[in-house]
């Protein structure tokens, strides 16, 4: 690995000198992906047609099916990717950053080209786009909640490995509470609300332990996180086998959340079914993403939070109570992760199962790092990871040549590359992982 050439260009604006650090990593990464795809398309060209189904049967506005020729479409895709690569290289040469949207455009084109290629060579060359996208979103929901939890707690200076445990605790508690209350005289709606609240409370409780041990007792945060995951897995599995399984009808049959299509918006072709025919918890997620982004970067709360995570001594000097700020924000983050856990039981499966989060907390952690500790980018990363795992489902249904395990591996490999610095500049909050001991 050679150190990438970094250009430090100083542009002077009135009264303030800002240094724009541009990096050649993005154009290089674009070029590598483009070349790899081109090699793939040369090595095994798929001449068949790929059919993209853009509407479901129940849609108001029916879009025609999009039929693309395997060879023509893939090569158009490669040409577009090459154009984006050249554009990004030109931007870097002009000492400007490569904008985020260009990255998204690149990713979408690359995925479409790959999908066309995979479908053209498959047994059933039909890709149901609405199903693929909606499935991707629902796989991403807990990841996004977990990633937001990770963003907040790491921004405030506490490394949160316990996201997995918080998700699992939320899933367990929401299932039990929603079942008990939802079957009583109060009815399913109250039960669901109580379940969601209980999930957030459970996440907070796990976060309390993390915060108490790492802030009060200065125990290493990674150790507490790892141990908390084991503790929550043990507790929920024990209670599941001992209490939930024998009384499944009373304790483990929560009322599932209904889909609430938003009028008009849900009829937008392609996007509507994906974003606006979802359960309340997904709409809650949109709200929380926006709130966390706004709060972190545009309010006093966010400024204090970030200053505690970057330089606790300085924050303490100006009168911010570091320990208290960390404690309550880690707890808030726990509430968000707990809500994400409720999606597993109330939103998706409808019952609690042993270790049902299956590593989602760790993928969320990966999304935090890949998203560079930024709520919007972390959300996009979580969506990408959710898309990758749903793409794997779709491809295995179509009978595609790529082994499904390699698709599932993708988020983790991408994260390793990101941490190792191949993908972009990754730098976490400076004080994350270090307890602040006031002297």
């Amino acid at each position: 690995m050679t150190a990438p050439t970094q250009h430090h260009a100083t542009t002077s604006s009135p009264g303030l000198d800002t240094t724009v650090v541009v990096s050649w990593k993005a154009p290089i990464a674009f070029a590598v992906v483009t070349v790899l795809l081109a090699i793939l398309f040369i090595a095994s060209p798929h001449a068949g047609d790929a059919t993209f189904r853009l509407s479901t049967g129940s849609d108001l506005i029916q879009l025609p099916e999009l039929v693309l020729n395997g060879i023509v479409a893939t090569w158009i895709g490669v040409a577009l990717l090459a154009a984006v690569t050249v554009a990004s290289a030109a931007l870097v040469r002009a000492k400007r950053r490569v904008p985020l949207w260009l990255l998204v455009v690149f990713a979408v084109i690359a995925l479409m080209a790959f999908l066309t290629w995979a479908a053209a060579g498959a047994r059933t060359p039909v890709i149901p786009m609405p199903g693929l996208l909606a499935g991707a979103l629902s796989l991403s929901v807990p990841l996004i909640f977990g990633a937001l939890c990770g963003v907040i707690s790491e921004r405030v200076g506490v490394i949160n490995i316990a996201i997995e445990g918080q998700l699992l605790a939320g899933a367990f508690t929401s299932a039990v509470i929603a079942s008990v209350i939802g079957q009583g005289i109060l009815g399913p709606i109250i039960g669901q609300v109580a379940g969601l609240t209980a999930a957030a409370v459970a996440g907070v409780l796990v976060a309390f332990v993390l915060a108490a041990f790492s802030i009060k007792y200065f125990v290493d945060q990674v150790i507490v996180g790892v141990v908390l995951n084991v503790l929550v897995i043990g507790l929920t599995s024990f209670l599941f086998s001992q209490v939930l399984a024998p009384n499944a009808s009373l304790l483990n049959s929560p009322p599932r959340l209904e889909r609430l299509p938003i009028p008009l918006l849900s009829e937008i072709p392609l996007i509507g079914p994906m974003f606006f025919r979802q359960t309340i918890i997904v709409y809650l997620m949109y709200l929380i993403v926006a709130l966390v982004y706004f709060g972190l970067f545009h309010t006093k709360w966010g400024l204090r939070l970030r200053s505690v995570g970057e330089h606790p001594t300085a924050a303490d000097t100006v009168g911010i109570n570091v320990a208290r700020t960390r404690f309550w924000n880690v707890s808030l983050a726990g509430a968000i992760a707990g809500l994400g856990g409720a999606f597993f039981t109330l939103g998706a499966v409808g019952a609690f199962g042993k270790e049902m989060t299956a590593g989602a907390g760790f993928i969320a952690l990966a999304a935090v790092i890949f998203g560079q500790w930024d709520p919007i980018k972390a959300t996009l990363a979580a969506l990408l990871f959710g898309f990758a795992s749903n793409l794997q489902n779709t491809l295995s249904v179509m009978g595609s040549p790529v082994p499904s395990e390699f698709m599932l591996m993708l988020p983790y490999v991408v994260t390793i590359l990101a941490v190792a610095g191949f993908v972009g500049k990754v730098r976490g909050p400076a004080a994350a992982g270090k307890p602040y001991i006031k002297s």
């Binding site: 041990f213 290493d220 141990v227 897995i233 086998s241 590593g359 591996m409």
Partner: protein, 437 residues
């Protein structure tokens, strides 16, 4: 490529400063040893009494959980105010029965007639503890170098895949076959962990994140190999499972009798304990390891190549964790394995290393304790219907309590050690005086 606040980078600039310059001018550039290492030292040093009390506390919490979820206790507590005695009897029966089954499953079974079948639980404990000790040594050795190897699962899976592949697909004479399989397994584990060490040394990537991610990559890689004919899948089968290991590669039993399953792997683990003790306490490599673990900046100034220490430590750590994977395929599950072969040992090893305070003999003791937990947990599940997951709860509580001695001291009202730092405090003003001059 590295971060600007990377201590190694700061140190690189530090070494460029001529040696005759005053030391205190360099101080602001060099980041003080991270809390990370201090926290490790706090976890890894401490009183033995805390460990004992932590185990006791965790067992009490376990007892409470058993009591509250027991059906007889729940039935008796329905009429608690009429006859409170019944509730306490039921609690005593539930907890006493569970812990008696636990003892009989892990140490000695008094209900058996002859000594051989009575002592079988103890050999089961030793069998379960063998991989825990090996993997615990790996994690503990990484701790001593200031690194956290959470990648036990991935390293075990790849080691199991490597050793298993040699064991079922090659035809070699007895003894040699086993040695080759063990070596291939250790190499696979070492290389997988070495990725994390190399990335940390070269790019500053945090080994916690990298090893967690490598766990999943290994899981999917091995799952793919297990269902691909010609790699690991048993010929003529559709299950993601390997063929059985050949007899020439399987660890021989140490004790006579078909009931006693203690295998040669236990001796390998004991040997590993002494090897790690020798490496850490007697070799120059171990001296460098410990120096890097205590303070990487000081180690660098003393002329130790910190980055290569990270790589070596992860290689050795991965080989030790890999030994646990080899145990699993050549000793415990010899009839062919699937992707669950690691049996959670990679994560248990972290708790073993923490409980053993990262010293080889401490890890031996902690491994034996957790091996007993595992053997006893299975028997408790079979005899009393208490789910084995309670062992996870007890183990994690032990580590949590041990990591926070002030909490344990507060619960048991032990005096907090507050008088110690006095001697240090008298030294601080002197330092400032020197700085003022």
């Amino acid at each position: 490529m590295s971060n600007a606040n990377d201590p190694d980078v700061a140190l690189q600039t530090g070494t460029a400063v001529p040696p005759d310059e005053p030391v205190r001018e360099r101080e602001p550039e060099v980041e003080p040893p991270s809390r990370w290492h201090e926290a490790f030292r706090r976890v890894t040093t401490g009183n033995a009494i805390i460990s004992v009390l932590a185990v006791l506390l965790a067992l009490i919490v376990g007892a409470i959980m058993i009591a509250f979820t027991d059906e007889r206790v729940q039935a008796a507590s329905a009429y608690f105010f009429a006859r409170p005695g019944d509730t306490f009897v039921a609690i005593w029966d539930a907890v006493g029965g569970a812990y008696a089954a636990f003892f009989q499953g892990s140490i000695y079974n008094f209900r058996r007639d002859d000594f051989i079948s009575g002592i079988r639980p103890l050999t089961e404990t030793l069998k379960f503890s063998a991989p825990l000790i090996a993997a615990g040594l790996g994690v503990g050795l990484a701790f001593r170098v200031g690194m956290f190897n959470i990648g036990g699962r991935g390293q075990m899976l790849l080691a199991a895949a490597g050793a298993g592949w040699v064991a079922f697909s090659f035809d070699l004479p007895w003894g040699l076959h086993m040695i080759v399989a063990v070596i291939v397994g250790l190499l696979a584990g070492a290389l997988w962990a070495g990725i994390a060490g190399l990335l940390k040394a070269r790019t500053g990537a945090h080994e916690v994140i990298v090893t967690i991610m490598l766990n999943y990559v290994a899981l999917y890689l091995v799952s793919w190999m297990l269902r691909t004919p010609g790699l690991l899948q048993a010929p003529g089968s559709n299950n993601p499972k390997t063929p059985p290991m050949k007899d020439t590669a399987i660890f021989p039993d140490l004790l006579p009798g078909p009931q006693l399953n203690l295998h040669f792997g236990f001796l390998l683990s004991i040997g590993a304990v002494f090897l790690v003790w020798w490496i850490l306490d007697r070799s120059s490599l171990g001296f460098k390891f410990r120096a890097v673990g205590l303070n990487p900046n000081a180690a660098r100034v003393a002329g130790i190549n910190v980055k290569s220490m990270y790589v070596y430590a992860m290689l050795i750590s991965g080989a030790l964790v890999g030994l646990a994977g080899v145990h699993q395929v050549l000793g415990t599950v010899t009839t062919g394995f699937s992707s669950g072969i690691d049996a959670g040992i990679g994560f248990d090893a972290i708790t073993v290393a923490l409980l053993g305070r990262s010293t080889p003999f401490g890890i031996l003791a902690a491994g034996l304790l957790f091996g007993a937990f595992k053997a006893g947990g299975f028997s408790m599940q079979a005899a009393e219907g208490v789910p084995i997951d309670i062992v996870l709860v007890v183990q994690s509580l032990i580590v949590l309590f041990i990591a926070a001695p002030p909490l344990v001291r507060a619960i048991f009202r032990l005096p907090q050690p507050g008088a110690k730092p006095k001697s240090k405090r008298t030294r601080t003003p002197r330092k400032e005086e020197v700085a003022a001059k």
